[in-house]
């Protein structure tokens, strides 16, 4: 070929273009392999992560499921001063106890029948709001002439509807 011809570099340019193409294809392949499917669906994160969070099981379901079987306790509870206290506050999440779709009991509710349970809310503390009912349990029991037993509170007070 004539050394003056502009076509003399065709081969080099072709090789460089081929190399560039190979690099681009490798990058695209690598990207499709390593970037998750739903990446960038909503922003710079994996869109499916939102669904992962939403798919988790709801474990606390409020008082309504409890009333399905426990009529008496439920009636007591909703008529007393503890009406605004959720059953699950003392008893734990309902999913530990019942399969609501099947309507079956699946396990025993972990009931913590102890003085400490009452004291979580009602032990006298200076950081609690002044108007909230609080008590020094030791003082109260000695006033009443009662012993400091683990379930002393329940001798007189029904936790579902205390006075």
């Amino acid at each position: 070929m004539n050394p003056e011809s502009p076509l003399i570099h065709t081969k080099h340019v072709f090789r460089a273009a081929l190399l560039l193409l190979a690099v681009i294809v490798t990058l695209l392949l690598g990207r499709s392999l390593f970037v998750p499917d739903t990446w960038g669906e909503y922003g710079w994160y994996r869109g499916a992560a939102v669904d992962d969070h939403r798919a988790r099981q709801v474990r606390h379901l409020g008082d309504d499921p409890c009333a399905m079987c426990h009529d008496a306790e439920s009636a007591d509870h909703s008529a007393g001063v503890h009406a605004q206290i959720r059953c699950e506050l003392c008893h734990g999440p309902v999913v530990l106890h019942a399969d609501l779709e099947e309507g079956e009991k699946t396990g025993d509710m972990p009931i913590r029948r102890s003085r400490e349970l009452c004291e979580l809310c009602h032990r006298e503390l200076d950081a609690r709001p002044a108007g909230f009912p609080q008590i020094d349990v030791r003082e109260h029991l000695s006033d009443q002439g009662a012993d400091l037993t683990p379930d002393a509170c329940f001798e007189c007070h029904d936790p579902h509807s205390p006075y």
Partner: protein
């Protein structure tokens, strides 16, 4: 075509090219048909299937004057979200402020098992509880430092961690000025309050709000004009934690004392 002379795989004797193309082709066509036929809204009837995150913007309100420090929220959070022992997505701090000198701040086990009476001889004139959670900031330091995009804000205003994508480097744990994040010892990924995203997108309140016996914690929706929390934010004097950091927290406090950080 005959098989390669070096091939010792007996299975290659049995499938001809024509047969292979026919079976593969019909399998691919079948798969495509299944994808095309499946209706888009096949999740209908599932709780929260019609949830639209463009219709909500979640905020949180804490009334420190109401909190009794019982720790029910901490226990409910652990039960709802399987939070590992020793880690907290929400916790309660107790402030005992004497007339003179340093304030006494404690949070034994995050307040999970309540609080014992203070035995110090300080002349405490002011004492209160402050429940804390992730502030779900609008200007999030935590998501900004994530090197892999595993931490993000949803369109309805919740800061979440992608548990599958997180590499557990812990930058976000360091970046959060409120100490709201931890590295989960089981999964070795960053973990935090999700504002019970699995609950609020299905019409429930967060576990902590649901369980609080005195209404000290409330969940609000900025896009709902009749939301009681919006009413409080509009008419009452509210504060956020460390406003000087300009993180624009979406967890608001009523009755917040200047000692609280």
């Amino acid at each position: 075509m005959s098989k390669h002379p070096n091939c010792r795989n007996p299975r290659h004797d049995k499938v001809s090219r024509r047969e292979f193309l026919r079976t593969t082709g019909s399998a691919v066509a079948g798969a495509c048909a299944v994808v095309l036929v499946l209706p888009e809204g096949s999740a209908e009837g599932v709780e929260g299937a019609d949830y639209d995150w463009n219709q909500h913007r979640w905020v949180y309100l804490v009334d420190t004057t109401a909190c009794i420090g019982c720790g029910s929220c901490v226990r409910a959070c652990r039960a709802e979200n399987a939070v590992p022992e020793g880690m907290y997505r929400t916790w309660i701090e107790r402030y005992e402020i004497p007339a003179e000198g340093e304030a006494l701040v404690d949070s034994p086990s995050g307040g999970e098992q309540g609080f014992a009476p203070v035995t110090s001889s300080l002349n405490v004139r002011k004492a209160f509880f402050v429940p804390k959670i992730c502030n779900h900031c609008l200007e999030t330091p935590c998501t900004q430092v994530c090197p892999v995009g595993a931490s993000f804000s949803t369109r309805d205003g919740v800061v979440l961690v992608d548990q599958e994508h997180c590499i557990g480097c812990g930058y976000c744990v360091q970046a959060c000025p409120y100490g709201s994040r931890y590295i989960n010892p089981t999964t070795h990924t960053a973990d935090k309050c999700t504002l019970c995203y699995h609950r609020i997108t299905k019409g429930h309140k967060t576990a902590c709000v649901e369980i609080c016996p005195v209404g000290a914690r409330q969940l609000g929706d900025r896009n709902d004009p009749y939301d009681p929390v919006n009413e409080i934010l509009a008419t009452r004097r509210v504060q956020v934690l460390q406003p000087e950091l300009l993180t624009r927290p979406q967890c608001y406090y009523l009755g917040l004392d200047m000692e609280v950080r």
